[in-house]
Subunit: 347 residues, 2 copies
Amino acid sequence: MLEPDGSTPRRATISDIAQRAGVSTSAVSYALNDKPGVSPRTREHILAIASELEFAPAAAARMLSQGRTDTVGLILRRDPRFLANESFFMELIAGLEIGLAEQRRGLLLQLAPDRAAESSMYRQWKAAQRVDAVLLVDFERDDPRVELVRRIGLPAVAIGDPSLTGGLTTAWTDDATGIRNAVRHLHGLGHRSVARVAGGPHFAHVHIRDEAFAAECARLELRHRIVHGDFGVTLAERHTHELLDDAESGYTAIVYDSGLTAVTGLKTARARGVHVPLDLSIIGWDDSLLTTVTDPPISVMSYDVVEYGDAAARLLHGLLGGTLPAAHLAGTPTLHERGTTGPVRSA
Amino acid sequence: MLEPDGSTPRRATISDIAQRAGVSTSAVSYALNDKPGVSPRTREHILAIASELEFAPAAAARMLSQGRTDTVGLILRRDPRFLANESFFMELIAGLEIGLAEQRRGLLLQLAPDRAAESSMYRQWKAAQRVDAVLLVDFERDDPRVELVRRIGLPAVAIGDPSLTGGLTTAWTDDATGIRNAVRHLHGLGHRSVARVAGGPHFAHVHIRDEAFAAECARLELRHRIVHGDFGVTLAERHTHELLDDAESGYTAIVYDSGLTAVTGLKTARARGVHVPLDLSIIGWDDSLLTTVTDPPISVMSYDVVEYGDAAARLLHGLLGGTLPAAHLAGTPTLHERGTTGPVRSA
DNA sequence: CGAGCCCACTTAAGCGCTTAAGTTGGCATG
DNA sequence: CATGCCAACTTAAGCGCTTAAGTGGGCTCG
C-alpha cells in the first residue's frame, strides 16, 4: 500500500469512486447508503469499486453533513489510582462495547478529577458536537447532571436507580429487592441480629440499600444496624471491629457494600479469632476475583454487569432512535452463596 | 438555555460570532486559534463574544478541514468477561487519560473479539480517519500489527518490549531486569531451587521473562524450571501441584506471572499444608488489590502502571508532533516485599 | 512627497460528505 | 402522437471550519 516514494497513498474519497465509475458523487453516496436513486446495476458497480479501493467514508465529513458522530461519551469521575479497584467499571465498559459495536458506535472515554471538570466536559462535548449522547454513571442523590444534560440538550442514558435519574432513560438494577433477599436469606438461616457496612451515604445506591435493608429487617423483627463508610479498607476494618465489639447486639451477620469491604471484613473477623461462617456470616456486593480468591470465598449479591452495560447500550440506541425515555430493569442482584454464609451456630 | 418553545438552541458557530463582532469568519478563526492577522483589540473582542456564546468549534468541521481528530484509539482484544480480571488495563487507561487530557485529546476505546476484528478496526479507523493514532497493547511475538500500522500509515505507539515492536515508538518496562532482580533476591534469601509459573508463551513479555529468568538462574547456579500456562486459575493450580510434587527438585520459591496466578499458587500451597513463606516463597507480578488482601499478602514485582500509561500518552504526543520513533523506558518492575517471601527454612 | 511595505483585515476556495432540487430520456397512457 | 410521469441520474448548495490569496489604508523611508 506504500507508494513508490514511500509515502502513504491518499485515501480514496467518493469522488475517486465517482470518477472511476463514471457517475456523480451523489450517485455514489446514494449507492453506498442504500438509498433510492441508482439502478441496481450501477449500485453494484459502485459498491465493487468502493470495496476495491477499501473505501470508508471520512468520519468527519459524515459528521459534518449529518450532524451525528456515531460516538457516545462516558466520563468516569474517579481517582485514576483507584479506578482499577472497581472491576465494575471495566465490566460495564465491556458490556457497553458489546452493545455499541452492534450499533457501529464508538465509545469516547474520559476521566474527570472532579464534578466541575465532569460538567464542563459534557458542555464541551455538546458544544463541539463530539458525541451523540452520553452515559451517566455513579449517581448521587440530587445529581446535578440530570438537570445539566437536560438543559444543554445532551441525550443521556443513566445507569442508576430510576428514583434518582429524573426521568432520563435509565438502566437499573433492583438493589432494594436484592438486599431484601439477602436479609431474608440470613433470616432463614436463623440470624436475628444483622448489620450492614455501607459505602458513602451520598451515593444513590447506598441510600436505596439502606432503606430496603432497614425496612426488611424491621419487617422480620431483626435487630439491625447500618454504619456508613467510604468503600475503603480503613473504615471497613474499623466498622467491622465496632460491630464485633458490640457484644450486646451480638451481630451474627454483616452485609457489606462491595467486594473489597467484604474481604476486609473477613480478614478483620479472622484476625479477631471470629470464625466465618460459624460465628459470623458475611455477604459482599458485586462479584469479582477479589471475593472468589479468599478462603473461604465470599458469598456475594451480584448480577451480570457486562449484561448491564449491554442493556444500557441498547437503551441508548433506542433513545437516539426516538424512543421515549423510560426506565429499564436490567437485573436484580442475586445471592451467590459461597463460603461465608451459614446457619447461626446454635448457642 | 432552553428556547421558549422548549427546543434546544442552535449552537453558536463562528459565523454567529463574526456577525456579532462585525468581522469576517476568518478573522474569528484567526482570533480563536491565536494566529496572527487580527489586532489585539479585535481579538479580545472576538474572544469575549465567543465565551459569552459558550462557543466551542464543531469538532467535525475542524477535523474535516485540518485532517486531524484529536482522538487516539485503543483496541483491547480480550474476552469482555475476563477483561476486568486484569486491573492492568484499567490502570493503563487511567494513565493514558491523564496524559491525553493534557493534550486535549480523547480516547476512543474498542473491544475486539479476535485478531481479525482488531486488524480490520485499525484499517477502518485509518480509512475513516477516525483517530490520529493508535496505542498498541498486548504484544505477541511477531505481532502482525507492527507491519499493519506501518503499511496503512497509521501512527502508533506500542506498549511493550522494544525487541518486539519493530521500531515503533515504544513505551516499555524492563521486565528482564525485573525478573533478574527477583531471582537475585531469592538467591540472597538462600533459595537454591526456584520455579516460574508463566503465562502463555506467545506473549512477548512472557518470553522475555522466561529468558531472563533462566539466564539469571543459570548464572547463579540455581536449579530452576519454567512451566507455561495461560494466566488462568486452573493451570496455575495444576502447575503449582506439579512443582510441589517434584520433591527431588525441592523448589523453595515460585515466581508467578500475574497476581491471580500467584494468589492461586498461595491457596494451592496452603491446601497442601505447605507453609508460605516458611516452606515456600511466592512472588507475583503486577500489583493489585488481589495480592494485597490475601493472608499473608503476596510479594510482587510491580511498577506504576498509571505512570506507564501517562508516559505512553506523552510519547504519542511527541510522535504526532514529529518526533522520530524511539523506545522509552517507563519503569522497571521492583520487588514489593510483603508476606510471601522469606529465607529458606534451614533444613 | 511618492514608492513600497506591512498590518489588519476580507474573499474565496476547499476539506468530503449528504441531500434537496433540477434534468434527462424512455415508457405508458389517453 | 403529444402528454405526463417516473426512474435514474446530475447539479448545486450546504454542513462549519481553516487558510491561501487578495485588498486597502496608514506608515516608513529615501
